[in-house]
Amino acid sequence: MALNIMQLATMFADKHPGITSGHRLCPGCAAPNVAKFALMTAEALGYTPVVGFSTGCMEVSTTIYPYTAWNVPYIHNAFENVAATVSGVETAYRALLKKGRLVDPNKKYAFFAFGGDGGTYDIGLQALSGAVERGHKFIYIVYDNEGYMNTGNQRSGATPPGSQTTTQPVGKKLSGKIQLKKNIVEIMAAHENVYVATVSTSEPMDFFKKIEKALNFDGPSFIAAMSPCVRFWRVNDDKAVEISKLAVETGYWPLYEVERGVYRVTKKVKELKPVREFIEKQGRFRPLLKRPDADEIINELQEYVTSRWERLLALEEATKDKPIR
């Protein structure tokens, strides 16, 4: 069943999709929409979502005791272990179903694990890799804002080169982070028996479809969502979707999926816009732009983005009827 916007709009006109209003995330934050899109899709398809969250902005802003912004079962354990925690929840589900001790045996559960880029690319990678290797049926969603926002704009493995961060700032001598963003999507795709996709809230239909695919996939799924932090990226509160769109149009955040090794680019951008456009729209790159080596760094990023894009198209062609497992 393919979902459409009207269906979802009607269904959730007077209903919260898992996360409710009244949370304390910053105005304009993209993260709650990542959760909303995922949980809406699950509910619309008849699933009851169970949510795990790793420590981070989204977790601390939605569950300040004695309040909670979640109207679905929710568990936070620690920073690096949401994949392991949800492994436990999912396994408990199977055990209790088998033993006839489940409270709602007729419900179709959907297990979600959410983490920021810090909890996913960095400290949580081991637990995530372990859980995916073991094949737990769950959907892991990283909301990628390219830094440690909970603690205030620190570098993560997802931070692009030249972005201003507090732990690797742009200075007189150094141009901030030197390394390119870690390619988490490919790392996860390399687990082979997995459905992996990138999404962006600027492309909701593509987002819904990929969640639907993940829900139907017989095994673990990993979804990487572009999720700008308007504070860290130094863009206006109403710009998260716009800047995400630009990330897709420049090829900085290509929309694609890998299903057991089979690549599919889901948004074929006819002509990629220059990455410079994406960079210049954000205040976090302002210190870089003042440096003499700015062009060098932007060119390097451009080269990477272009070659990755070409490589993705080639992989799509090469793998189309060759699932790896």
Binding site: T48, V50, G52, E59, V60, T63, I64, Y65, P66, T68, W70, N71, V72, P73, Y74, I75, H76, N77, A78, E80, N81, A83, A84, T85, V86, S87, G88, V89, T91, A92, Y93, R94, A95, L96, K98, K99, R101, L102, V103, D104, K107, Y109, Q126, A127, S129, G130, A131, E133, R134
Partner: protein, 392 residues
């Protein structure tokens, strides 16, 4: 006494794995680490053979083992794990979270020295590092107690007045790999004793969604800690009730303190775990020589049975505390707790601290005798930490 139907020579690891088989937990998540590994191996075989209905999660680390067990217990499952030493240290962060979330998890700990330098043999530094994590700590002397305590631990952890996780400590290699005769309960009797899990606020009850592990700032955190403190206070009562019930089905009656020849003893040695057995033997030898000596083995270290110890130690001539762990820059943990308890008694005995057996160093009868002899000669100095079996 009930008839013993199932007496077998087994290792401590087998004894615990068999307790787990009888418990038939819903979820076991574990990672192998010496000397805990055989517990997981035996149990994995039970899973593979379909002897238990448990779903096992062979995780990629101990950190994930504890994380998964927390997830499973929060979901409403009866969840267990086992570990040792560096594995327990890797779990450390989540060990606290398990207790703070009031999840009745039971974990067997094959006590082993913490690195570094790396060492795989027995001491108590791993468990002592978790002393203040909010877990109940039971300490077994032998395979029989390791088995019995594992069954009892489920009942204590899940009791509605407690709802705290329990660590069953058993000395690495000495108990885990040593073969002893163990009296097993009949499966049905054991199963009936542990009963059905008592689940509170399960995550999978979607009709009543709950938020587990919220952000808890200065306006409520303190109150929640206070509740944990209160829950710990209920443990002694619950331990005694569970022990009473366990005695009826096993004939083995446990108390907070295991007392051996203590009634008329002038000198009492206190130690945790398997060494108590060697001390008991030494006490018998010294008794033959006319010395009034005895042993107290705390079966539980957290909560600490302070009042019970005070009653027993008040007015004795000498108290010798043996620790298989050091506390750098302070007193050894068991000694510190005993000495602190003695501050409040009317007639204080002389007291001495002896650290022994670090990294698996043998503890021998002559070492224990030497410590007793210090006591007989009035040579116990409260402010002096001494070492047994150390080359100096």
């Amino acid at each position: 006494m009930p008839e013993v139907k199932n007496r077998q020579a087994v290792t401590g690891a087998q004894a615990i794995a068999n307790a787990m088989r009888q418990i038939n937990p819903d979820v076991v998540a574990a990672y192998p680490i010496t000397p805990q590994t055989p517990v997981v191996e035996y149990f994995a075989q039970f899973v593979a053979d379909g002897v238990v209905e448990t779903e096992m999660i062979p995780v990629e680390s101990e950190h994930s083992a504890m994380s998964a067990v927390v997830g499973a217990a929060a979901a409403g499952a009866r969840a267990m794990t086992a570990t040792a030493a560096n594995g327990l240290a890797l779990m450390h962060e989540i060990v606290y979270i398990a207790a703070s979330s009031r999840l009745p998890i039971v974990m067997a700990v094959a006590n082993r020295a913490l690195s570094g330098p790396i060492n795989i043999h027995c001491d108590h530094s791993d468990a002592m590092a978790e002393r203040d994590s909010g877990w109940i700590q039971l300490w077994a002397e032998n395979a029989q107690e390791a088995y019995d305590f594992t069954l009892m631990a489920i009942r204590i952890a899940e009791h509605e007045d407690v709802r705290l996780p329990v660590m069953v400590n058993f000395d690495g290699f000495i108990i885990s790999h040593g073969v002893e005769v163990v009296d097993f309960l009949d499966d049905e009797v054991a199963r009936k004793f542990v009963g059905e899990p008592k689940v509170m606020y399960p995550l999978l009850d979607t009709e009543h969604p709950v938020t587990h592990g919220p952000l808890d700032l200065y306006d409520y955190y303190f109150e929640h800690k206070r509740q944990q403190i209160e829950a710990m206070k209920h443990v002694k009562k619950v331990f005694k009730e569970v022990a009473e019930e366990f005695a009826k089905i096993s004939g083995r009656k446990y108390d907070l303190l295991d007392k051996y020849k203590v009634d008329d003893a002038e000198y009492i040695m206190i130690a945790l775990g398997s060494t108590a057995g060697t001390i008991k033997y030494t006490v018998d030898l010294l008794r033959e020589e006319g010395h009034k000596v005895g042993v107290i083995k705390p079966q539980i270290f957290r909560p600490f049975p302070k009042n019970e110890l005070q009653e027993l130690l008040n007015g004795r001539k000498g108290v010798i505390v043996l620790d298989r762990a050091a506390s750098f820059g302070a007193e050894a943990p068991l000694y510190e707790a005993v000495k602190s308890a003695l501050y409040e008694v009317a007639v204080k005995p002389q007291i001495g601290s002896y650290v022994y057996g670090l990294g698996g160093r043998d503890i021998k009868i002559e070492h224990i005798r030497k410590a007793f002899e210090d006591a007989f000669s009035g040579n116990l100095i409260a402010d002096e930490e001494r070492y047994l079996g150390l080359r100096e």
